[in-house]
C-alpha cells in the first residue's frame, strides 16, 4: 500500500474526485433542466466529457507514476 502514501498520486486522486463530482453535478443539472422542459442535453454532454477526460488524465498520471516506480525497482 506504499503507493497510496505518494503525494502526487494522492493529489491526482483528489483532483479526479473533484472532476467526478463536477461532472456528476452537470449530469444532474442537465437531467433536471430536461425534466422541467429546458434543453439540458449540452450540460449532459459536457458532464460526460468532463468525467471521461479527467478519468483518462487520472489513469495516465497514475500509470505513468507506477510504471516509473516499477522500472526503478527493477533496475535497483
Amino acid at each position: 500500500m506504499a503507493y497510496l502514501q505518494d503525494e502526487t498520486l494522492l493529489n491526482a486522486k483528489r483532483q479526479w474526485l473533484f472532476a467526478l463530482a463536477t461532472g456528476v453535478a452537470l449530469l444532474l443539472l442537465g437531467s433536471g433542466i430536461l425534466a422541467i422542459g429546458g434543453n439540458g442535453i449540452p450540460l449532459l454532454g459536457l458532464g460526460a466529457a468532463l468525467i471521461a477526460f479527467n478519468s483518462y488524465q487520472y489513469y495516465q498520471a497514475t500509470h505513468t507514476k507506477l510504471a516509473a516506480r516499477l522500472t526503478a525497482g527493477v533496475k535497483a
Partner: protein
C-alpha cells in the same frame, strides 16, 4: 439552447481562431469595446437608479457585498487543498472568481431583454459593488505569506482601476444627468448590442487562444472553471430570491455569482500579488468560465431560476 444573434458572434470568434483564420482586430479595439461596455452599463444603471431607486436597494446592496466576500472564500479552499496551487496563485484565482465579468453580465442582459424577462433596472449598481470585495479577500488570503507592495499603490489599484472608475463614474453621471441622457443615448444605448457583438467576436478568439494554453493542470482547471460558476450561480440565484429580487434580478445575480473577472481583478492582482501566475487566472476565467457561462450557463440559470420562482 435558443439561437441568439449576439452569442453567434462569440461562436464565430471561437471558430475563426480554431480554424486558423487570420482575423485581426486593431489592437486598441478590444480595449475600446471594454471601456464602452463599462460606460454604457454604468450609465444605464445610473439613469435607472434615478428613476426607480428605492430604500430597498440599501439592504440588497449589503447582501450583495457579503456575497462578494463569500465567493472567494469558497473558491480558495478548492484551489489550495484540492488543486494544490501555491497560496498566492490560489488567492489570485479566488479573487477572480469572487469578482464579476462585465462582458458576461452584458450578455445576460441582452438575453433577458430578448426574452422580455424584467429585472431591476438599477442592477449595474450591484455589478460595481461586486468588483471590490473579492480583491480585498484575495489579498487577505495571500497575505499570510507576507506582501511587500505599498498599501497606497494597492488601494489605488483596488479602488481606482479602470473598471471601477468608469462604472462608478458613469453610474453617477447617469444618476445626476438622467434628464439629459437622450443626448448621448444614440451612442451608449442604441449601439450597445452591436458593440457587444463585436466584443464577443474578439472574446471568442481570445477564449479559443487561451484554451490552447492549458497543459499540465488542464483537468483540474477545467473542472474548477465549470464547478465554480455552478456554485456561484446557485448561491446567487438563492440569494436573489431571498432578498426579494424579481426573477430577472435573481437570474442576473446568479450570472454575477457565476462569472469571473478578467478585466479589473487581473490588473489589481498584478500589483497586489506580483508573484502569482496571472496567466493561470486569465486562462481559467477567460478560456473556460466565460465560454461556459455564455454558451451553457446563462440559459441554464434562466431556466432554473424561472422554475424556482414559478
Amino acid at each position: 439552447m435558443a439561437f441568439d444573434i449576439v452569442i453567434a458572434f462569440f461562436l464565430l470568434g471561437i471558430f475563426a481562431r480554431l480554424a486558423g483564420s487570420p482575423i485581426q482586430f486593431p489592437k486598441g479595439l478590444y480595449q475600446t469595446l471594454t471601456l464602452f461596455l463599462m460606460i454604457a452599463i454604468g450609465l444605464k444603471g445610473g439613469v435607472a437608479l434615478a428613476n426607480h431607486g428605492s430604500p430597498t436597494v440599501i439592504p440588497q446592496s449589503i447582501a450583495v457585498i457579503v456575497f462578494g466576500l463569500a465567493l472567494p472564500l469558497l473558491a480558495f479552499p478548492i484551489l489550495y487543498f484540492i488543486g494544490q496551487f501555491q497560496r498566492h496563485d490560489a488567492a489570485s484565482i479566488a479573487a477572480h472568481y469572487g469578482s464579476v465579468s462585465v462582458g458576461t453580465y452584458a450578455v445576460a442582459v441582452a438575453l433577458l431583454d430578448s426574452q422580455d424577462i424584467v429585472y431591476e433596472p438599477y442592477f449595474p449598481l450591484f455589478v460595481v459593488l461586486l468588483e471590490v470585495p473579492a480583491i480585498a479577500v484575495g489579498i487577505a488570503l495571500a497575505s499570510a505569506k507576507g506582501r511587500d507592495v505599498p498599501l497606497n499603490k494597492l488601494l489605488h489599484e483596488v479602488f481606482l482601476n479602470q473598471g471601477m472608475v468608469l462604472m462608478v463614474g458613469a453610474l453617477l453621471i447617469g444618476y445626476f444627468g438622467a434628464q439629459q441622457i437622450d443626448s448621448i443615448a444614440p451612442l451608449f444605448i442604441n449601439l450597445f448590442q452591436g458593440a457587444l457583438a463585436l466584443f464577443l467576436l474578439e472574446m471568442g478568439m481570445v477564449a479559443a487562444s487561451r484554451l490552447k494554453e492549458l497543459k499540465g493542470s488542464a483537468g483540474f482547471i477545467l473542472s474548477f472553471g465549470i464547478a465554480m460558476p455552478l456554485i456561484g450561480g446557485l448561491l446567487g440565484c438563492v440569494l436573489g430570491i431571498a432578498i426579494g429580487l424579481s426573477t430577472g434580478g435573481a437570474i442576473l445575480l446568479a450570472v454575477l455569482g457565476a462569472s469571473a473577472s478578467y478585466i479589473a481583478v487581473p490588473a489589481a492582482m498584478r500589483v497586489a500579488l506580483p508573484q502569482a501566475n496571472h496567466s493561470l487566472s486569465i486562462t481559467s476565467s477567460l478560456g473556460i468560465t466565460f465560454p461556459f457561462n455564455v454558451l451553457l450557463g446563462i440559459p441554464t440559470y434562466i431556466t432554473a431560476t424561472q422554475w424556482l420562482t414559478a
